[in-house]
Amino acid sequence: MNKTLYILTSAGAIALALILLSMDRQPVVRSLPVRSLGTRFETGALTFQRADNGSSFDARPRITNINITDLDTDGTMDLLICDAVRHTIWWQRRTVDNDWTTVPLVPENSLPAPAHTAVVDIDADGDPDILVAILRSVWPTDSRHGQVVALINDGELGFEVMVIADDLRRVTDVQPADFDADGDIDLVVAEFGYLHGRVLWLENVGSGRFADHELVSLPGCIHVPVDDYDNDGDPDIAALISQNDEEVLIFENPGNGSFQPVAHQVWGTTDYDLGLAGMVTCDLDQDGDTDLLLSAGDNLELAYPCPQPDHGCIWLENRGNFEFESHRIGSLGGTYAADAADMDGDGDTDVVLASMFNDWKQPDVTSLAWLENNGQQTFSAWHVASGPTHLCTVRCGDLNGDGLPDIVAGSLQIYPPYNNADGGIAIWENQGVAQ
């Protein structure tokens, strides 16, 4: 009996001791599991060298577009840079000493928030002029203060501003073509607007005057690349519609500019949040027709943009007769621009992507990537750079004359964080495959 009591008393004492001991123990502190929203890639076989192009910005750059062209026809490629801080177009070209010089084509504050350029001889005098889409405000507004202007070349690369169309909402793109086959240059205009917008073509009626023809009335048109999408010999118009509709329309030209009132909707999605941001033409599968590359990554619905899993690049493969098959070829949060070139010199067409809204809070996420084509239009994504961040525009071209396509991108810094936002315009020279 005593033995039993002894055992029970001991057990009670042990239990109490254990309880007292456990009261002194600190809780385990764990890190809160946080999802990673940013996109980052490994570095691929190609090496890129960041070139010093002498561009500097005192504050936050707002580069809206970069165009590669040989403006002075000296055999080397120049850059036309749309600057929404200085409100001008910068002409940047390489000197014989391999330096870069940069001059404004027109005085600062002449072109309020230029959004896009296209080089064409609009006045048919034998020298290249420059068409400029005037956005006027980077921020959303429906005010009718957008314009289409031409910088008229005096033959010696002096430029004068000529207003071609005004009373438009924010204009994001203007492209030239002879739509009515009458021998002069007509224009197609993306009037992005905000809640209201349009796509229209401007018929050249001579003496620098244009008659406007509305193709469709809807907001959010970003780019209007012109090409012969149906291979019938005349220029058609593709229109990338963002905002509410997230679709690609093609306006078929019967050859005389009398576009049909209903366009071909060659692609569309119910994903209202996809965030289409840009569209360029290319022949990605090299089958002789014109395909389209879409970049998706706009995300301005909330106070701060957020990269989404469905952001990236979509290839619309032209299957003829206005049938396009869509292929998702790359994922990169906040993708805003894409361009195509044979980056690795293997004979197929690769793709370069620029991100404006990756998760910049993470220092090592990718701002610039290239997608390597395996020859069968299957792509592997590789990291090129983490900065500058906020890249809004990207183009590929041989900028140093070594036969390899280089990359130039521009930064539009309108949202924090500005923690890796070095430089507004960055050039990466393609060094080829690493030895």
């Binding site: 006027r136 209201h196 008659a211 106070a303 989404q308 809070k361």
Partner: protein, 470 residues
């Protein structure tokens, strides 16, 4: 004694079990998130750190408040983790689930979002229809149109769900159903641009070009959204976001500047805020401190620096121009006003109108009446467009008329006068104005179209539409 033993043994067994459980169970808690605040304004950084510092790790509501703050500051991943923690600590709170689901949807985690919206409904959320609407939106994002349709049908008491159903019906070429939904909607929300736009699309697909034009014309002048649960939640977060932003700081400081005794304190706050970085918004605010101290030289220098470093816009040129004008520096003020009027940027039409007024006076004073009239005409034109955007149509028409009296050479002034008269139902005046427009620009497509419509006794916009009531 035996009875005592029967009582004591189970008691000690329980004690031993409890002690063993306490020894092996380790209480778990979570570290508060440490978002990377580099590159954010000092004020935002401080506000977020403050929000983190007040969280009690075991209190669900604290985690939830922190989640809201982080979400509003753009720290979505950290916000999602905090919403998750709040729902773990208090798993039966439907609103916690709802907000967590919204956050998951915002970062593209649609399947997880759906799960939490469903859980919110199960827990008795006060707005199950909102949860179902979001489930529909998530389905749209994934391209599951049929699922979306089912979800929107189940939340069709919401106008915004019916709008989505109309969009889906158009995609399915079910124009009759779409038209019926839209025509009902327009009765409820007569200024909703998207409804008119979709009605125009339906009319186009039905080949009814007159109705198409009519609906597009309405869509072109009204600007309201059909609001739903997404807008409600976004508005709450937007308000929180503004409170985290430097602009909020500036507004608070501006209010404090009204009291002269606060000037030095405000200056200290702003300088501390600026830190090592240079921020054009804060420099602009500091120029107000300069003005309050009557240090006009410093005010001008600071405003000039803002333009030199970060570029000009109409707001900045107006600020500097009027500061220079106060110093009687009319030459430089005039140049700035010219630049600001040309730029017409920064989203502040009123400042451009003010600059037009000041420049008009300067030109009149210099005896340049022709130039003064041109600038005044431009100011009136801008005033007219601003009034038209606000749907103050009679006032807009008057402003366009004043503009034309001063300078009748612009086609666009005549067009917008015609448009205003048309909206007011003054068809004869409208037709005259369109004709004048076409004299100056024979290729003005809208003037051609509207004039044609008026001459055939129909209008592309019905006169005196109910939807345009102010």
């Amino acid at each position: 004694m035996r009875q005592l033993r029967y009582l004591v043994i189970p008691l000690f067994v329980i004690e031993l079990a409890v002690a063993t459980w306490l020894m092996f169970f380790q209480q778990e808690t979570f570290k508060l998130p440490e978002p990377n605040l580099v590159g954010y304004p000092a004020y935002t950084r401080a506000k977020i750190r403050e929000a983190i510092s007040v969280v009690r790790p075991d209190v669900a509501l604290d985690w939830h408040h922190l989640a809201d703050t982080l979400f509003a500051g753009g720290f979505y991943a950290e916000a999602e983790a905090c919403y998750r923690r709040a729902s773990t600590l208090n798993p039966n709170h439907p609103q916690f689930r709802y907000h967590w689901a919204f956050c998951l949807s915002s970062i593209g985690q649609t399947a997880a979002s759906d799960e939490q919206f469903r859980r919110a409904i199960d827990l008795g959320h006060s707005h199950p229809e909102a949860c179902r609407h979001f489930i529909g939106l998530n389905a749209l994002r994934e391209g599951r149109a049929k699922d979306a349709q089912r979800a929107f049908t189940s939340s069709s008491e919401l106008a915004v769900s019916r709008l989505q159903l109309a969009e889906l019906a158009i995609r399915d070429h079910d124009l009759t159903h779409a038209s019926a939904l839209l025509n009902e909607l327009i009765k409820e929300q007569p200024n909703a641009w998207r409804v008119y736009y979709l009605l125009a699309v339906v009319a186009r697909q039905q080949g009814d070009t007159t109705a198409e034009q009519q609906h597009f014309a309405f869509a072109d002048v009204v600007s309201e959204h059909v609001r739903g649960p997404w807008h409600s939640r976004a508005a709450t977060l937007q308000k929180l976001s503004l409170e985290l932003g430097v602009e909020h700081r500036i507004n608070v400081a501006l209010e404090q500047l009204q009291q002269p005794q606060n000037i030095d304190r405000v200056a200290d706050i702003i300088l501390a805020e600026n830190g090592e970085s240079w921020d054009p918004l804060l420099e602009d605010l500091l120029s107000n401190v300069d003005l309050a101290r009557d240090d006009r030289k410093s005010q001008v220098n600071r405003l000039q620096q803002v333009i030199d470093k970060d570029g000009a816009d109409s707001y900045r040129t107006a600020r500097l121009g009027f500061a220079l004008l106060a110093q009687q520096n009319t030459t430089e003020a005039e140049l700035l006003f010219e630049t600001g009027i040309h730029l017409l940027s920064g989203g502040k039409s009123q400042q451009v109108i003010d600059m037009c007024g000041a420049l008009t006076e300067l030109r009149k004073h210099a005896g340049n009446v022709a130039s003064a009239n041109q600038i005044a005409a431009w100011g009136d034109f801008l005033k007219g467009t601003q009034l038209l955007e606000d749907l103050a149509i009679p006032e807009a028409a008057a402003a366009f008329s004043r503009s034309i009296e001063l300078d009748d050479s612009r086609a666009r002034s005549w067009f917008w006068l015609g448009r205003s008269q048309q909206l007011l139902g003054n068809h004869e005046s409208a037709a005259t104005a369109f004709a004048e427009c076409l004299i100056r620009n024979p290729h003005h497509e809208h003037a051609i179209r509207n004039r044609r419509a008026l001459s055939s006794s129909t209008t592309d916009i019905p006169s005196d539409p109910a939807s345009l009531e102010r």
